[in-house]
Amino acid sequence: MFERLYHMLVKEFIQVLRNPRMRAVLFVMPVAQIIIIGYAVNTDVRHVPMAVYDLDRTPATRDLIARFEGSGCFDVVRRITSEPGIQKVLDSGEAKAVLRLNRGFAEALSGGGTAQAQFLLDGSDSNTASVALTYAARISGDFNRSLLEQRFARSAGVRLDAEPVTLATRAWFNANLDSRNYFVPGVLAMLVAVLSIILSSMSIVREREVGTMEQIMVTPIGRLEFILGKTIPFAVIGFADVALIALITVFWFKVPMLGFPPVLFLGTGLYLLSTLGVGLFISTVSSTQQQAMMTAFFFMLPAFMLSGFVYPIANMPKVVQLLTYLNPLRYYLVIIRGVFLKGLGLEVLWPQMLALTALGTLMLLLAAGRFRKTMG
């Protein structure tokens, strides 16, 4: 058993590592991708370009505009001077929001009445729009409070400084609510999935295509020896890549690593079990490499969408949520984010580990069962 397995492994490692293009795919590409994608995955809304249509031009309007600018959330990119200008900047995308202040704004305020301000938003990007709206509401709320304080002080001679209720917020695990900390570990999980699934899905079918499979099948090699020989090298390479990408995540992107790295490595091992299992299964059912590649892509796209990488699983319809239980990526994302950001250990993550073990074993057995040493 071990002698044959040993020779399978030697052969597989030579084949994988001898080809310079393959080496680049295995070790350069993931590094380049984590760096590029790491900068791109960021859903933080800052510096929303904004235009201002100020018809009043009074200290009061200037104060409000200054508050928008000073918040860091908005950048005033243009001052509009005519009505059609509003349409123009929103259409062209030059600004995502327009603040319109009508004539009589300051007058209404000084008279103790209510002044109207219009805030127009480009809602096509609903996520950015809703975040921007929250910022705008907070800015106008602050503006109101300071106005009220002034009025009280003026009319009653009393300084009003205490609010009835104050909400003291503090975000745990990701104190600055930095979305990159949340997404970069997810990118790691995705890169490992792409690499391991594509490589393993090509591995058996390649031998079938070039004809070496026939020669292998007339030898006394066992099914398990062959399947393990195909799995272990990619698992080792997968580990190496995770280590490499994790180092970049921690030292380049400064994503905190609060947990115990061996927990992450255990999770990675179990995760690779299922991704390689899926890949090998695809390889055993495909008759050409092209077919295997297509099938792998058809698996990966829904696997990413339904993993909780971007779209929260809790927001999905019940049926779709049930489907996600079959997705190894779902469990690994919980593990990897838990270890990186929350410092979680096995006492919390064991259900995910268990699920990955079950999925991985099932997929590998399925692949081994599908693999026959006969043709036709």
């Binding site: 044959r4 020779h7 030697v10 004809g211 007339v218």
Partner: protein, 324 residues
């Protein structure tokens, strides 16, 4: 099984393989003695490779029985794989491994013992004349060299039965010749060689031949027997000018079963060569051809096979024509 497996390397009884409705191998029975070079001949698609794959445990038979090296081809497939060598028409070693790495891989998979490994490796490298190229990537070797290496890798574990599926297709004549020298050497050492081919001159090298056509075993015997007894037709050789055009005329002469070009000559199959010869000369000269020699010849193996296959086609009738 009525044949004693000890004396025979391969025994087949009514071996059958169907793919859906298509019968690829139709109830074939034959025995191959130990140390024999058995040639399995037939046109493409006749069922040669299907048969050999069943013998090597690559394909399950749909019916019938068989043994290879005394082991049952239905129930002892993995045991068979330990005691046979197999080499197919398609080069099937790893192009991206060096010569030496391929040898090491296969001797590892066949579990050649530690003491023997080095010796077998040297044997393969010497046999294939690849000593200086041991560190060359296998993919860079010319066809004939690859073929020898393939054979060497199939022989690392010293199998008692060797299966060769069109081993010399796509190899130049010189390499083919030296390849056959190796086969003789192996047979001399007691290895049974079961080889498929469609090269007639290769068929002549075999101890015994089986002709398979449309999945059926049409003839079985030594090359001598085939040329002597098996053919009911006689062969008439005609040399004349513009033989290509003359072929059409000759084919229509009464008493001619079949006519084919052999180089510049025409070979005619007939029941009675003596009677046909004068009539043929007359017909051709009347059509304006210059006729040289017209003589009865000993049929070549190719004549025999063409004649046997034609006879089978006539027997089957024309309705099956498309099915080959």
């Amino acid at each position: 099984m009525n044949a004693a497996p000890g004396r025979f390397a391969v025994t087949l009884r009514d071996l059958e393989r169907r793919f859906g409705d298509f019968v690829a191998v139709n109830r074939i029975s034959l025995d191959v003695r130990q140390g024999e070079i058995f040639g399995f001949l037939g046109p493409n698609g006749a069922g040669k490779s299907t048969t050999i794959r069943m013998l090597c445990g690559l394909l399950e038979p749909s019916g019938g029985q068989g043994t290879v090296a005394g082991l049952d081809i239905r129930t002892q497939r993995e045991e068979i794989k330990r005691s046979i060598g197999y080499m197919s028409q398609k080069f099937s070693l790893y192009d991206d491994l060096t010569v030496e790495e391929n040898i090491d891989f296969f001797s590892g998979i066949y579990r050649v013992s530690k003491e023997k490994k080095a010796e077998r490796k040297t044997w393969v490298l010497d046999m294939a004349h690849l000593q200086e190229h041991r560190r060359t990537l296998t993919g860079l070797l010319p066809g004939g060299w690859k073929q020898r290496l393939s054979l060497g890798c199939a022989l690392l574990h010293e199998p008692r039965v060797l299966f060769l599926d069109e081993p010399t297709s796509g190899v130049d004549p010189l390499s083919r010749r030296s390849f056959w020298d190796l086969i003789y050497q192996l047979a001399g050492e007691g290895v049974t060689v079961f080889v498929t081919t469609h090269y007639m001159e290769e068929a002549e090298y075999c101890d015994r031949l089986g002709l398979i056509y449309r999945g059926e075993l049409v003839a079985l015997g030594t090359p001598g027997e085939m040329k002597g007894g098996l053919m009911t037709d006689q062969v008439l050789r005609v040399s004349c000018d513009r033989s290509h055009e003359a072929l059409g005329v000759a084919a229509t002469v009464d008493g001619v079963r079949d006519a084919a070009l052999f180089g510049r000559d025409i070979h005619l199959m007939t029941e009675d060569a003596e009677a046909l010869a004068p009539r043929l000369r007359q017909a051709l000269e009347a059509a304006g051809f210059q006729v040289g020699a017209v003589e009865r010849i000993t049929p070549s193996l190719e004549d025999v096979f063409v004649s046997l296959i034609e006879a089978r086609d006539r027997a089957d009738g024309a309705q099956k024509e498309f099915k080959a």
